[in-house]
Amino acid sequence: MYDTAGHRRRFSGLLLSILMCGSAACARERFTRDPATLVAAIAGDPGQLNPAITTNGGVHTAAGLLYDGLLALDDSLRPTPALAVRWDVEDGGARYRFHLRQGVRWHDGAPFLAADVVFTFEQMLLRYHARTRASMASSLLSVAAVDDSTVLFTFRRPYAPLLQQLDVSEAPILPAHLYAGRDPLRNPVNMAPVGTGPFRFVSYTPHSEIRYAVNDRYFRGPSALKAVVLRIIPDEDTQVAALEAGEVDWLFAVPGPARRRLAGDARVRLVRSALSAGGSNCITTLGFNLERAWFRDVRVRKAIAHAVNRPQFVERVLFGEGRAADAPISSGIAFAHASDIAVPAFDTVEAARLLEAAGWRRTDTGPRTARGVAGVQDGTRFTIGFKALPSQIVYGDLLRAQLRGVGIDLRPEPLEQAVFAASVFTARDFDTAIGAYCNGTDPEIGVRRMYVTSSIAPVPFSNMAGYRSTTMDSLFDRAGASIALSERRRLYHEIQALAVRDQPYVWLVETSNLRAHSARCHGFSGSSHFAATAACTK
């Protein structure tokens, strides 16, 4: 027999200390971090920290602070100096000469040279960075180091958007001396990276956190922060709770339902940004598969555009954060956006009229049936599929509700990214689908791919509709080869008028990026270097 009473006493003592320690007493005992350390939440483990070999948004979000591009983009997306201090546009836009900043050093102390730029483009960006490769590789003739501080880009023909494509998320510059002669995908430097950026790498604990320390030799001067910790928190509600509990200082995204609460919380500040590591100026867009008989008739596409209540998407899907899309090109690309264009307005009577005229008859409250629609057997019901990534299936839920009113039965189907890409863009096995088409900072980056015939390809978020128009193709070719802004503006307006006339897509909403940070910090920017100019107090 052992002494049960004593045993119980010991146990309750332990229990008591756990409980007491949990509350006030232990909160003090708990690890307190330096106020000059910023903790930012990121949603996924990036896996590795080399942004030049991937377009994965998670890698770019996590690694942005470590690197610089030749240029940077300011908050209105204009190019400003970064690793390059000046640049000359020569030969009508077919040649670009960049003069590099002197005295810049990599985090390991080695000097930054023109050879690094050439190496990064040739061995990494143009091979593995899918976006840069797709937009530049075919028109770029060469990248060459004229001397240690001059780089020359030579194109086959004038290339307008280059200056928009050289910031840290489109073209980060990496150190040649650590990557040369080794397979960049397997290089261990990817896990212990070296850059020129405002912060340098300290440690990486997979699926937990990544730590950076301030780069004291940063060419713009050291940041006021001593360190940045990127905390990996996959659930967005947990991210918000962590911000409210003071465990985290910065969120890259705020879930819709939490916005109102955070806006009224004195400990929290909200900031808006057009920039995002995954792509800027995104328009959530419904695409019709134009190869399907249903959608060959433009009246059917127009009818659906009229049946869509876009303000309701802003109110109930985006919780007010964003705006109804009023043109095919985002309002974030101010020079190209055609704000005066008339996209089909919400009008269910007009939608019904167009559907009747196209041969889709309504006899009861259910879906319409075909009578005399070319390529569709009479009596066929207007039931169409809708494919979406799981995160965007809510658009399908609302679209289904809205289209029911005009007699169209929409069936949403969520698919994981790999399956979505393969069935929509490779097999082209879909009726309608939705995508967050990020227009980027220039229509050449993110708009062209939606409309030109050559990008009907098994590539995610290319020409989803399968839209073919030789007029459109030549308009884009002219707009891309012109460097006069007024000329480009005129051409992009023409492009948008044609897109609205043919309606291969319905442009639903422009989404914006809402970030949140704790009130003890200030001075954040919307760029990939979000924390470089920030400062935190106790």
Binding site: G256, R260, R316, P390, S391, P412, P414
Partner: protein
């Protein structure tokens, strides 16, 4: 006689009432639902009111109608999975336990194969790779749920083989089929029913977990899917979480209390 025994116990009575509520929703739900569950019939996230007894969701759809429509899907999946598990689990467990020897070894190796990878992982992987769908959910959950039952049944059969009444039956030369049907099966029922009761609850919740990961079939409203949709709104709209959650709890409680009472009435304790 048995029915009386079940109903005499308070847990049995409560179980019957709760299960009747769930079944009632599945049978008449779509008829009595006030609205089309897919249509927008109110404002975004309005609290329960006269017009919307269980409030509305973020898009403005009626939650009560969704709960009523969801009953059919949820119960269909749960019953179908249980049926698959019952048939395969009992048959394989009985054969393995009764025959023993290499048949037992072979069947148990197969069972183990189905058991080593957790059911939830298999379900997530299959749905994520092949896309959502009720048929897939039923098949995947059905064919990963029988091993537990098979093991339990086998264990019981082995234990029973040595009991006097079975030995006696074998000694007087009763045919195997007769022994299985008359002696083993009835005595297995309590265990089988209790195991199935727990499985039933797991299936309803697995749908919720799949929904949490964005893998629910949006064409088929189910309680699990509704519970998962409520996830992001827990702090702004309690009604989204509460009502589908209650529906799940009522059903799981009903099935399990009834299973307990049934097992007790069969002489388990």
């Amino acid at each position: 006689m048995l029915r009386g025994d079940v109903l005499r116990r308070p847990s049995g009575r409560l179980g019957v009432v709760l299960l009747a509520v769930a079944l009632g929703m599945a049978i008449v739900g779509p008829v009595v639902a006030p609205y089309d569950p897919f249509a927008i019939t109110g404002g975004s996230l309005t609290a329960p009111s006269v017009a919307h007894a269980m409030g509305t969701d973020s898009l403005g759809r009626d939650v009560l109608s969704a709960v009523l429509f969801g009953a059919r899907t949820s119960l269909l999946v749960a019953f179908a999975v249980s049926a698959i598990a019952l048939v395969f689990g009992t048959a394989i467990g009985l054969t393995a336990g009764y025959r023993g020897g290499y048949i037992d070894d072979m069947l148990m190796r197969t069972t183990e194969l189905f058991q080593v990878i957790p059911r939830f992982f298999i379900a997530v992987v299959v749905i994520a790779l092949f896309g959502p769908g009720l048929d897939r959910i039923i098949l995947v959950l059905g064919f990963t749920s029988w091993p537990t039952l098979a093991r339990v049944v086998r264990g019981e059969v082995i234990a029973m083989r040595d009991l006097d009444f079975v030995r006696a039956a074998v000694a007087i030369g009763a045919p195997s089929g007769h022994i299985v049907r008359r002696q083993l099966l009835p005595n297995l029922m309590p265990t089988v029913i209790v195991t199935l009761g727990l499985l039933f609850g797991q299936v309803l919740l697995l749908e919720a977990s799949l929904g949490f990961l964005g893998l629910a079939d949006p064409g088929a409203i189910s309680w699990g899917m509704l519970a998962a949709q409520a996830h992001g709104f827990l702090r702004v709209a309690w009604w989204l979480a509460l009502f589908p959650g209650l529906a799940i709890t009522i059903t799981v409680l009903g099935v399990n209390l009834l299973a307990d009472a049934y097992a007790a009435a069969l002489g388990r304790d």
